[in-house]
């Protein structure tokens, strides 16, 4: 469910409109372009490392390309941050037209001026020009419809002959502001209802211009967790009747995974966020000694891998990088939710939220706020008062797929794809997932959290799952 360190790199550098990224190599010379700046910022996490990696990684990098599963990184932290080397990636042509669209979900929603750019939900489509199945893709924690993994899935499915709709995660600011009924993401039933509402609206629109034969559903990371609950809700409501559902690297329990990720954060930051600047300063020093920033292009996976080989960050640093990227997503979520519900949690209740409002102090607080704090302080408060008779323990238990385990294990159309070394799973989580899905689970031996999505064998599995 956590977005990966690599997601962070891409998340911060990703062009908002597909098609303009091709010339990213050519930097705007006269001053540092903001995209480049963000790329550098993002790579600081990666570059902060110390020495101490085994030389085994080097040998692994030279693995011969064959169309079997030969993903090279056995270190799950490195896999999560680095992704897949270009030579081993599925060949996904760039020519598919990714169209960004906007949707007004609630006609009467009032959005504070500070969120003026979030007044409508943004989603993306990749359409066929003939009748085809439609696949919905739900993004992972804090990720948008055009996050790197979301787009990758879109291209895989589009190439396999489907119409594809890419949706942001219900934990993404844009979704919280424009499409969440409760504005408090994280509750499975409420998030599924929000997603289902959006899907119905999108479907209604698309049906005017394309013909759809049937429906599929998938999601990665937290989006996979959302997909499970959405499929269940859909069955209860009698909606799309998703013929196939694929859960890609889901958390078993939101609660477990948040604890895992919080623990990652402090591995390279013993003093917590207080040590963040020192961590980053050290990274800056390493980067400066590494060479000119002009040589850095973190949109190129091979380049990131090259930087990794030279800088050799420790596992602790990598874990912290992943934890930080997740913490940043959490800070965005908690703050957006706080402002939209007027909870007075981090942002003063009576202060107008404007684009000119300085937010430095609130950022400093939000970065020190775990999703567990959010859960305890505003989420539980709100949901407990809405459903008398349930306890905090009940609420926590509901964030586990085990709570719908009986249903999941019965549903032949819902499959699981994950990695044996996925870093967001706590001890015992994988076994429980395997118990729930039985023969409907495909577990790759390595890849960390989402590190292998672009690998040829993995992309082929996803593609085959929906087209067989």
């Amino acid at each position: 469910m956590g977005i990966s360190g690599r997601s962070l790199v891409v998340w911060m550098t990703r062009p908002g409109v597909v098609g303009t990224g091709g010339c990213a190599r050519s930097l705007w010379r006269r001053r540092l372009a903001p995209a480049r700046i963000l790329a550098v910022f993002a790579c600081l996490f990666l570059a902060a490392g110390c020495a101490g990696l085994s030389s085994r990684q080097d040998a692994a990098l030279d693995a011969s390309p064959a169309f079997s599963y030969d993903y090279p990184f056995d270190n799950p932290w490195a896999a999560t941050v680095l992704g897949t080397p270009r030579a081993l990636q599925a060949d996904l042509p760039d020519d598919a037209e990714v169209e960004r669209r906007e949707l007004t979900v609630f006609e009467d929603r009032e959005v504070p001026e500070g969120f003026w750019y979030n007044d409508r939900l943004r989603y993306s489509t990749l359409l066929q020009d003939h009748e085809a199945p439609l696949a919905f893709v739900i993004a992972g924690t804090g990720a948008s419809d055009q996050a790197s993994h979301t787009l990758t899935l879109g291209r895989i499915l589009h190439r396999a002959g489907m119409h594809v709709v890419l949706l942001p995660s219900p934990t993404h600011t844009n979704f919280i502001v424009s499409a969440s009924a409760t504005r408090l993401p994280g509750y499975p039933g409420a998030d599924a209802a929000d997603l289902h509402r959006v899907m119905r609206l999108v479907d209604e629109r698309l049906r005017r211009s394309v013909s759809i034969s049937r429906y599929y559903l998938t999601g990665y990371s937290l989006g996979a967790w959302h997909a499970a609950y959405t499929a269940k809700l859909d069955q209860e409501l009698g909606g799309f009747g998703f013929e196939r559902v694929l859960l890609i690297n889901p958390p078993l329990s939101l609660h477990h995974s948040i604890r895992q990720i919080d623990a990652m954060l402090v591995r390279g930051l013993p003093d917590g966020i207080d040590g963040l600047d020192a961590f980053l300063d050290q990274a800056v020093e390493r980067l400066a000694s590494y060479g000119s920033t002009d040589a850095l292009d973190f949109q190129d996976p091979d380049f990131t891998i090259e930087a990794y080989r030279r800088i050799r960050p420790s596992d602790d640093r990598l874990a912290t990088a992943i934890g930080l990227s997740f913490r940043l997503s959490a800070a965005n979520l908690v703050f957006a939710s706080d402002v939209m519900t007027n909870a007075g949690y981090i942002f003063p209740r009576d202060r107008p939220f404007l684009s000119s409002t300085p937010l430095s102090d609130y950022l400093a607080v939000a970065l020190r706020t775990s999703l567990l704090d959010y859960f305890r302080d505003i989420f539980a408060e709100a949901y407990l008062s809405r459903q008398p008779g349930i306890t905090r323990q009940d609420l926590l238990a509901r964030t586990s797929l085990s709570s719908i385990g009986e249903w999941l294990s019965r549903e032949e159309r819902i499959w699981l794809m994950t990695n044996r070394d996925d870093v967001i799973l706590a001890q015992g989580d994988l076994d429980e997932l395997l118990r729930l899905f039985g023969p409907r689970a495909r577990v790759f031996p390595n890849g960390g959290h989402m590190g292998n999505l672009r690998h040829r064998a993995v992309a082929a599995y996803v593609s085959d799952f929906f087209s067989r």
């Binding site: 998340w11 911060m12 550098t13 062009p15 908002g16 010339c23 990213a24 050519s26 930097l27 705007w28 010379r29 006269r30 001053r31 540092l32 903001p34 995209a35 480049r36 700046i37 963000l38 550098v40 910022f41 500070g114 750019y117 990720a143 948008s144 942001p168 993404h172 600011t173 966020i273 207080d274 963040l276 600047d277 020192a278 980053l280 300063d281 800056v284 400066a288 000119s292 920033t293 940043l328 800070a331 965005n332 949690y345 981090i346 942002f347 003063p348 209740r349 009576d350 684009s355 000119s356 409002t357 937010l359 430095s360 950022l363 400093a364 607080v365 939000a366 970065l367 020190r368 302080d377």
Partner: protein
């Protein structure tokens, strides 16, 4: 040409005064339940994480929003149309052409920084790309092992120890600081002096420089406002741009006590 550069100066003054007017504010709000005092024993130090001094924040934030709107309603539609009409191959030639012209400033600043390691390859690049690369339409030099260097007058001033001054968000241009804003103006003026009058007064040249170049410049930058999805994007961009520029200028980071 020169009148163009001069228009930037009032801009900086507007920025400076705009900031003063908006930074006054003594309204007290009901404190939120989670504040710096509740999350850290040392609230003052806790505040410093990812923090950058920004005395003109009020004005900067307004210009940030203005830039986002300029992007949304003017620049990006133009860039989209440009991509629609002009094939990728030609767009890359346009980019190469303007980047090649930019080598003039890179060379001048490399010399001013007394860095032959940057000046020599830049001179080589300009000569190769202007001839073998057909007036810069093709970047042959990079393939021959001469990657493009980075140098501008703001960087030159920084190299010689001049402090950045306050953080600034420049209209249309984005994150900068007082030193680099001045550097941008100086680079513009210097470039105008270098181009011979016979070329500068040419209608085709003027049209290309003031219409095609800005489009190309925006086209080359993949950044999209608010694509980070973070309510703290202004703060994150500010921190990242300051750090990135610090690396680019080559000034070692100041380690906080």
């Amino acid at each position: 040409m020169r009148r163009r550069s001069v228009t930037c100066l009032p801009l900086i003054l507007v920025l400076a005064t705009g900031g003063c007017a908006s930074s006054v504010g003594t309204v007290r709000y009901e404190p939120p339940s989670r504040s710096l005092d509740t999350v850290s024993a040392q609230a003052e130090e806790a505040r410093e994480v990812l923090h950058v001094s920004d005395p003109l924040e009020g004005a900067n934030r307004r210009i940030y929003k203005f830039n986002a709107q300029l992007d949304r309603y003017v620049l990006l539609p133009v860039v989209d149309a440009y991509e629609e009409v002009v094939p990728g191959f030609l767009r890359r030639r346009v980019s190469s052409f303007f980047l090649n012209l930019g080598e003039i400033n890179i060379f001048a600043n490399s010399v001013l920084q007394a860095r032959p390691s940057k000046a020599t390859p830049t001179l080589g690049r300009f000569l190769i790309n202007s001839t073998a690369g057909l007036f810069g339409l093709f970047d042959v030099a990079t393939g021959l092992g001469f990657p493009r260097q980075s140098a501008d007058f703001g960087q030159t001033l920084g190299t010689w120890g001049l402090d950045t001054g306050p953080y600034l968000v420049l209209p249309a241009l984005g994150p900068s600081n007082l030193r680099d804003a001045v550097g941008t103006v100086v680079d513009w003026v210097a470039f105008a002096f270098v181009v011979p009058d016979s070329v500068a007064d040419n209608l085709v040249y003027e049209t290309v420089r003031y219409s095609l170049q800005p489009v190309d410049a925006r086209y080359r930058v993949p950044f999209r406002y608010y694509s980070t999805g973070s309510p703290f994007e202004y703060e994150l961009v500010r921190y990242a741009s300051v750090v990135a520029r610090r690396i680019q200028v080559g000034v070692p980071p100041t380690v906080r006590e």
